[in-house]
């Protein structure tokens, strides 16, 4: 195995040493530097879709997603600036305008990652018009439900189902505003032959889009701490051989 190079670079002025196969986001987390994320999930592959983790790199006008960008020697990264804050706020605002996110009646109220981001970024109003799409709820599964009104298309469920459970029940259909999470080939979840009913998708969903049946407003608490451990054990990174 090729030995990976160790490099040093700066995040917000702080010197950081890194293996070259660690992303900016992973390194920031190690050093307790906060970068907001929604689609990122430790334990599954990075997606780069929510755009909340965008950071500035000195010398470039472009913004880079921290979850999929690797640092270079001597790089200087800024994780928070007026520009970034404004853009992140606008991004969360767009998400709120896209579907019907009504916290007051949501099972995840109080433990929702989208809601938490909005609080963090100081989003008090949505300035753009609400799109108010007419979306269905799939309650065909025996234990779980899927409410498209609350889905932000982060694809955490798709990735965990494919990469960890190995079932690949979930995927995305349609494009743009018409994009939807679908079970198998767009069947009711309850009819899916590939679903093992493991519930991992429910636990990793950042909002109330995937939920356990029988939970009422603010009762759905999600646990996805199992993922990094599961991943570590499978990869044998904690001392074992690859």
């Amino acid at each position: 195995m090729r030995r990976s190079r160790i490099i040093t670079f700066k995040i917000n002025g702080q010197d950081i040493a890194a293996r070259e196969d660690e992303t900016i986001l992973e390194l920031a987390r190690q050093h307790e530097i906060h970068i907001p994320t929604l689609c990122y999930l430790e334990g599954v592959s990075a997606y780069g879709g929510c755009r909340l983790c965008m950071v500035e790199i000195k010398g470039s006008n472009r913004l880079f997603p921290a979850c999929t960008t690797y640092p270079d020697e001597g790089m200087e990264i800024t994780t928070s600036s007026e520009r970034l804050k404004a853009y992140r706020k606008q991004t969360v605002e767009l998400l709120f305008s896209e579907r019907n996110h009504i916290c007051a009646v949501c099972v995840s109220n109080g433990s929702c990652e989208l809601q938490a981001q909005a609080y963090d970024l100081g989003l008090t109003h949505v300035k753009v018009p609400y799109i108010n799409p007419n979306l269905p709820v799939d309650a065909s599964h025996a234990y779980f439900g899927l409410d498209h009104n609350r889905c932000i298309l982060c694809t955490r469920c798709v990735r965990v189902c494919d990469e960890v459970e190995g079932a690949h029940t979930w995927d995305m259909m349609g494009r743009g505003a018409e994009a939807r999470i679908v079970a198998d080939l767009n069947q009711p979840w309850g009819d899916s032959l590939s679903c093992t009913s493991c519930g991992k998708c429910v636990q990793v969903c950042p909002t109330g889009a995937l939920f356990e049946k029988g939970t009422s407003v603010a009762e759905m608490r999600k646990k996805h701490e199992f993922l990094p451990y599961l991943r570590l054990m499978r990869e044998g990174r904690d001392g074992g051989e690859e």
């Binding site: 929510c50 965008m54 505003a177």
Partner: protein
């Protein structure tokens, strides 16, 4: 192999020498849509029935002036008679046309004058064979000098020599970005030789109003195959894919035929031209997504996955198809390669401007007399394209702007028509070269409506992966629609401008990053048209004076 080419060329020339009057009927998509296939049948039937000796009819590729199709060209062996082009030919014209041709006369009422700037001002490299050879016969391509570049390359040049020649030519990507082609080739060529490298031809042409690539594939498919094979040799790839959009069935059919012919002749497949170089080309069909023109989305689609982009870097040159180094260029770029190898990079670099070399094919459309396909040297002023080659604006209208670059581009107002057409100048004006769509607009076009049209396109073509593009395009479209309907205020305009900046900087791929361009450029030059539509327009006009220009 050289002798084989000679043989074919001699036979073709001998056959051509027997023909006194060659009648060429355009059978590319545009003329086909006005029944040129029926014209060809009628002409052939007439030749047989009337026993017009010395007359021969065949289908050829695009002749360029699509608005006057079906086009027919008659070339006489007797040089004094020369060539005559006919326009708007119908099957009913066939007897008279053949009669006239066989007697060396002209059919006056259908003549299409060719001594006009449309034909005189063009420089043809990519389209050199278009409209001259039968796209379904490899022999004609070879007789026109085809595959000689490939033969020279694999027998006399090292892969490095080929890359050097492309580098020296100064060729830049014709898909829109203008990335130096030689540099891209070098990157892939330098990747570990043990890796399985790939060459991909991007033929997922999707800009509204653009049909350059379709025309090249339909009129001269072997040129693209030769360019790809040369690329494969240069970078060390053994396999290539052409990703053609499914909406181009004719191009696909001709490509398939061309691939089979090339394999049979030994210029494609195993042991190319008797050497140890192997290169296979396969066709992959797009399923109708514009975003699959973006290289990482295209690669995902070729792999059989959902066609959506992924963050770059890593670029495909390093991590592309199946994770291997992949060279990806568009149709027109590959179509330029064979002439560059044949005539040398320096020859190519002598055409065009300092930073934009060679020629560019444009699809002229919109409010212009001569709509069709043109190829011009880089650096030609816009006004020459619009007023001379394009023949000006029909119906006594005034030209207002030219839109280049499709949904990723912008509008250039008539005041800037002295601008030379090259990559940098167009960017400076807030537009881009793009893949070659050029839409001319007159004073009847409302620029807010134009921006709205392109935003509607982006909205429906966004893949849905990243939030700024997926939701931002919907919001921007709704705001534009509101303003266009006269229901917007300065508040909506401000929201729109904020969204434009944010979507440009935050989106994942080129589609989202450039989606605000049509809005930005129309705001830059035609801000008053937005203000006139606002409900609080009067106020707005006053404040507009102090509003700084939106930077591109």
């Amino acid at each position: 192999m050289h002798e084989r080419f000679e043989q074919i060329t001699q036979k073709e020339q001998a056959d051509a020498a027997k023909v006194e009057h060659a009648i060429h009927v355009c059978i590319a998509a545009s003329c086909l849509s006005s029944q040129s296939d029926k014209v060809l049948e009628a002409v052939q039937a007439e030749i047989e029935a009337g026993q017009h000796k010395g007359c021969q009819a065949k289908g050829v590729g695009c002749m360029g002036l699509c608005s006057r199709g079906p086009l027919v060209n008659v070339a006489h062996k007797d040089e004094k008679l020369g060539e005559t082009m006919y326009q708007y030919v119908t099957p009913a014209d066939a007897p008279a046309l053949v009669q006239a041709a066989s007697q060396g006369k002209q059919l006056k009422e259908r003549i299409c004058p060719t001594d006009v700037p449309f034909f005189q001002r063009q420089t043809k490299i990519v389209l050199e064979n278009s409209g001259r050879i039968d796209p379904e016969r490899i022999e004609e391509y070879i007789a026109a000098g085809g595959y000689s570049a490939l033969l020279t390359a694999v027998t006399e040049m090292t892969p490095n020599d080929v890359v050097d020649e492309v580098l020296r030519s100064g060729l830049r990507g014709r898909g829109g970005g203008g990335y130096p082609t030689g540099l891209k080739w070098t990157t892939v060529a330098k990747a570990d030789a043990k890796l399985r490298k790939y060459v991909i031809c991007n033929a997922d042409e999707g800009d509204p109003g653009a049909f350059m690539d379709r025309s090249v594939l339909e009129s001269d498919p072997h040129r693209v195959l030769e360019g790809m094979t040369l690329a494969g040799y240069a970078v060390g790839a053994r396999r290539g894919y052409i990703y053609v959009r499914g909406e181009y069935p004719l191009a696909v059919a001709r490509l398939k035929k061309a691939i089979n012919q090339a394999r049979r002749l030994g210029v494609l497949g195993d042991g190319i031209c008797g050497t140890t170089f192997n290169f296979q080309i396969d066709i992959r069909l797009g399923a109708g997504a514009f975003v699959c023109g973006e290289e990482t989305a295209l690669i995902a689609s070729v792999e059989g996955k959902r066609g959506q982009p992924r963050p770059r870097p890593p670029y495909p040159a390093e991590f592309g198809l199946w994770g291997e180094p992949t060279l990806i260029n568009n149709v027109e770029t590959f179509a330029n390669v064979a002439p560059i190898i044949r005539n040398g990079g320096d020859w190519y670099a002598s055409i065009g401007t300092e930073k934009s070399k060679g020629t560019k094919v444009f699809a002229l459309a919109g409010s212009i007399v001569n709509t069709g396909l043109i190829e011009v040297p880089m650096g030609i002023p816009l006004k020459e394209i619009v007023f001379e080659i394009g023949g000006g604006i029909p119906g006594g209208h005034q030209v207002k702007a030219v839109q280049t670059g499709g949904p990723s581009g912008g509008c250039i107002p008539a005041d800037y028509f002295d601008t030379p057409v090259d990559y940098e100048s167009l960017v400076k004006l807030g537009s881009i070269m793009g893949s070659g769509g050029m839409i001319v607009m007159d004073e009847t076009s409302n620029m807010v409506d134009v921006a709205r049209y392109f935003m509607e396109f982006c909205k429906s073509e966004s893949c849905g992966k990243c939030v700024p593009c997926r939701v931002g395009t919907v919001q921007m479209y709704d705001l534009l629609d509101q303003i266009y309907r006269g229901e917007g205020t300065r508040y909506e305009l401000k929201l729109l401008e904020n969204l434009c900046t944010m979507v440009r900087e935050m989106s994942l791929c080129g589609l989202g990053q450039t989606a605000p361009n049509p809005v930005n450029s129309t705001l830059r030059y035609f801000r008053h048209e937005y203000l006139e539509l606002l409900r609080d327009g009067d106020l707005a006009v006053e404040t507009a004076v102090s509003t700084p220009e939106v930077q591109p």
